[in-house]
Amino acid sequence: MALLKYESQVRPPLIDGNKTYHQVTVDIARPVEERPSRLWWIAFTIAVLLLGFGIFSVTREVIYGVGQWNLHKTVGWGWDITNFVWWIGIGHAGTLISAILLLFRQGWRTGVNRAAEAMTIFAVMCAGQFPIWHMGRVWMGFFVLPYPNTRGALWPNFNSPLLWDVFAVSTYFTVSVLFWYCGLLPDLAAIRDRAKLKGRKFFYGLTAFGWSGSTKHWQRHESLSLILAGLATPLVLSVHTIVSFDFATSVVPGWHTTIFPPYFVAGAVFSGFAMVQSLLIITRKVFRLEQYITLEHIDVMNKIIVLTGSIVGIAYLSELFVAWYSQNPYESWAFMQSRANIFSPYGWAYYIMISCNVLSPQIFWSRKMRRNLTVTFFMSVIVNIGMWFERFVIIVSSIYRDYIPSAWATYYSPSIWEVGFYLGTFGLFFTCYLLFSKFFPVIALSEIKHILKRSGDSYKGQMGEAEKETPEAFAHEMAH
């Protein structure tokens, strides 16, 4: 017991069932070592078909130009930027779970962090597609890079939030990949050392980078993970802050709002956790990992959903209040007329947003609802629909009627190729996630082993003995 930190008996176990270290390895490596099920193949086929349709839609856009989308000079940002912000928001939960909860020493993160980090990476990949293809002449995309060029050495404008976005999103993607992959190394090595098939030995031998589990390597690994977490925490906040600057630094009524950064970050965490719930409820069922991703995990994440959903709700109210209090006619038009008036052209979208994001998550105040898988899955989808509408409301309802009524837009609805592009990113996301869940351990093996003797069901009983010790003996043990 000497090296085990004390854990309260009041806390329910994070790993159910009678597990040993070996059993943990077997359980988590099973999905990788088994043949994929029929369900996996069906899902994979659908995902690849969606991806194909997306590639076709984007190809049309590249050949014929942005005119393939129903954007026009008033609504210049429509579905594309809505989807960009939506995917980026989803990509925030992974880093929140892995980095912020690591810094806060939350043991429950170990069950869900690997899958959530993978989700983050794939969501950021999907998000990145939208601004890239929205450029129109995408073959000139490298113009955003600062390099000595022949255009009179014309540099990008470093004062522009759009350029900040380029740096923020690409840094976020890089750091997320590094963090995720460093965490994967020991687990890939565990699968490599279990492998019987030659191809598997080769693949995991290659991807594990020759990890041996040496104590010195673990020491460096722990240090690296902790500092990457420390860097990723302000990074994840900065990314959505900068995304919100794309709007907040403009002079468009409805965008020009100082509460955007915290409001966007809360919304991002909100939608990200909803996506984690959707994915993990299916993953734990399909791969029979209910003992590692327990109801306890689902419960905790639902608490975060109700918290962040309510923060978002307060942000909506503050916006309306400020619009009224500012006595600025343009500001008040954007909020009271273009949004909150249900009879205005996009009023319906505002009320879908309010009911999905603020009202419906309130059922999670009830413990029974938080622990109901069907309700949780349903709600996770509702929340993501609501969060999509939030971005749509912010973007479209702020710009479709601007200062001059003669420039007011006709009703904007997307073309099939805009919708196709969005569906294509779903294809990309699920193709990547399904491949990940087949070839990589979806749960952080070594981290589960790390908390097994503290939070495992069969070990929790022994932890109570620490309560009977003298304070001196307890302090001595804690010192190790």
Binding site: P146, T174, D193, G213, W218, R220, H221, K449, K453
Partner: protein
Amino acid sequence: MAIKKFVVGSFEDEAVLFRAVKKVRSAGYKLHDVYTPMAIHGLDKAMGLRDTSIPTAGFIYGITGTTTALLGITYTLVWDWPLNIGGKPHFSLPAWIPIMFELTVLFSAVGMTLTFCYLCQMAPFVRKHHFSLRSTDDRFVMVIECTAKTNEEELKSFLSQAGAEEVHTQMAETGWWLGSYSRNRKSFENPNAILA
């Protein structure tokens, strides 16, 4: 690198391993390394390893990133091609903070990860000798180097008494070589060594 002789002891419980590490060190044996399936906090201290310098490296990479961003933006927007953007000053530091921050994080993260891989000698196609395949699964494997002074039999019984489940001797290459894990192990290994 050199091929050396090692006595390898596998432990089932980390608490037993901790006590054994202390005993082995106080008995004066040359502890080569301990291989564990997960990070064990405090084991590095018990083994007498010094702290890692990764945080220092990360800090240096980080300030390199900040400096690169600041100098780069200053060069482009102030010196090389000053543009009048809305009448704002050319040197508009507050607007550069986001990119300076991002580059700090980027340089630090990439640099630290590469440093980590370099220090641990890890890369694709890098092949190392693994003393026990179960050290990534459920065994804590202590490896002691046999020097000229070491009495091998005495060491083996010492390890068994310290709580090792299984003790054996292996000849091993201490460095790394290029290869792949799907191929057979190197021929210098003791064919009688128990590797399961």
